[in-house]
Amino acid sequence: MNFKSTIGLEVHFELKTKSKIFSPSPVTYGADPNTATNVIDWGYPGVLPMVNKDVYRLGIMVALATHAHILPQTHFDRKNYFYPDNPKAYQITQFFQPLARDGYVEVEVHGKKKRIGIHEMHIEEDAGKNTHGTNGFSYVDLNRQGVPLLEVVSEPDMSDPDEAYAYLEKLRKIVQFTGASDVKMEEGSMRVDTNISIRPAGQEKLGTKVEMKNLNSFEHVRQSLAYEEKRQQQVLLSGGRVQMSTRRFDENTGKTYLERVKEGASDYRYFPEPDIPPYKIKQSWVDEIAKTLPESPMDRRKRYIDEYGLKPVDADVLLQTKESSDFFDSTVKAGGDPVLAANWLNTQVNGYLNDHRLELADVKLTPEHLAAMIKLIKDGTISSKIAKKVFAETIANGTDPKQYVEAKGMVQLSDVSVLGPMVTKVVDDNPQSVEDFKNGKDRAIGYLVGQIMKQTRGKANPKLVNKLLNEELNKR
């Protein structure tokens, strides 16, 4: 029997604000426990939550970037649950009138383009963090309580784990390029829950869905879905029934395990949040935000390939993060040749960052300096060999390449009246090399170039030296 899978994903993004969604507590990552939280986060009697304007602004950016319809009137609701990660005993979320509905993301899987629908996206507060001890106690840190989240709920449009993977990659990239979230799975600023059901091919009615929560990498999402497809098929083929449940993926075994049978949604007893007024979103504000929306990764890719003549693979490396794409754009804007800028960023800069385990924001290299260095290479002032030295200095200490090259006397030697006699002399001094050259040994010329380089301490223009040597050798 053939089966069809139906997959839907819920993705939480932490929105990048300075303060929390309902209180002015600072948003921090890695601060001492319970030092970035206040009486509003803890739901003390008499406090009044007030909505952070930037939470809406960033949420609207993501809605615009995913072609979603922004609701003109939204409001918040209480989702009731008792758990120590939230001392209020309810989460403030948007259940009835979310921020936006009906968006989509376009993916390409197995060579085919497909639109994955976004059912809705809503803003809500994050809960605190529990650490479970082995001594019968848990330890609660409420710094994360009240950090703004945007939950993006897809339509159940994905029919295999590869599509789910492609959707996640695309959604992450789109959100990242809006600047609304850091989208780091490892730091929890992006979190993924999956739903999967299977049904026999030809059956209309969807099967019973199983949920998996808190998968901590895209690869685990793919593996856990693939495992569930097989497991549910075996259940159905052996005459069993799939149980509506939440399962946990164990990355060590690659299997999923029953965590618990699911509660119904009504157990959360949602009701409109009485402390917070409704929010009317004016089209004029949406238009204003749309004007500030950074160029999408799809549009950037097209520009890099069509306008700048980059290879698709180079464009994709630049587009791995918004930071590197922005850095590249600024370098080009500062006058750096696009192809050279892409090559330097993708090889030398990335190599440096990997070797030193740094991020682009951590180093002193600026787009202006990179552009200046590329100009020096392009106009023949420095050789690419010298450029590597200049680069090492610039990225490590933020030194201006032009000033450095001048101060260190690194300017490339391209003066024929100086190089000409040197070439003649080196050929005179090395009759063996002349003979080798005549016998068709190309390597002979390399040796001679090396001699000139040695004499000029690497400053000679290698192209010019090559040319002059060729001319000289052919005369002999």
């Binding site: 939480h12 300075k18 303060s19 209180s23 002015p24 507590s25 600072p26 001492d32 426990p33 319970n34 030092t35 939280t37 206040n38 009486v39 803890w42 007030m50 909505v51 952070n52 304007k53 930037d54 939470v55 809406y56 409001h75 009731n80 649950y81 008792f82 758990y83 120590p84 990660d85 009835f96 994050d126 809960a127 963090k129 529990n130 650490t131 479970h132 001890g133 019968g136 106690f137 848990s138 330890y139 609660v140 840190d141 409420l142 979190r191 829950d193 929560k213 808190n214 939440t246 618990r260 509660e263 157990d267 007893r269 409109p272 009485p274 007024p277 409704p278 929010y279 009317k280 979103i281």
Partner: protein, 100 residues
């Protein structure tokens, strides 16, 4: 709407409370009376009145994204029954829909 003993037991579970049989009987009756009282509102004629979730005449009240430090940790911890190394110490409860 009539509340049953099972409703009360279910709500108690969701609220992490446990009641014995006597308490269940007592609370079923008491909660029923509370619901009955609230039910008197059903007598109001709401024909033509649009549904609302809000009674204040304002909307879209935003706060600017400015972080402020309010309470210190020791202030926040004053009402915490038990703490350890800056964490709030609670009995282990693992069963939850959590998003950690």
């Amino acid at each position: 709407m009539k509340l049953t003993r099972e409703d009360i037991a279910h709500i108690a579970t969701l609220s992490r409370l446990s009641f014995d049989d006597k308490e269940l009987d007592k609370f079923t009756k008491q909660m029923g009376e509370i619901i009955d009282m609230a039910n008197q509102l059903q007598a109001v004629d709401t024909e033509g009145v649009p549904a609302t979730t809000q009674v204040v005449d304002r909307d879209t009240v935003f706060r600017e994204d400015q972080p402020e430090k309010w309470q210190t940790r020791s202030e926040m911890m004053q009402n915490v029954p038990d703490s350890s190394n800056g964490f709030i110490k609670v009995p282990v409860i693992i069963d939850k829909d959590d998003n950690d």
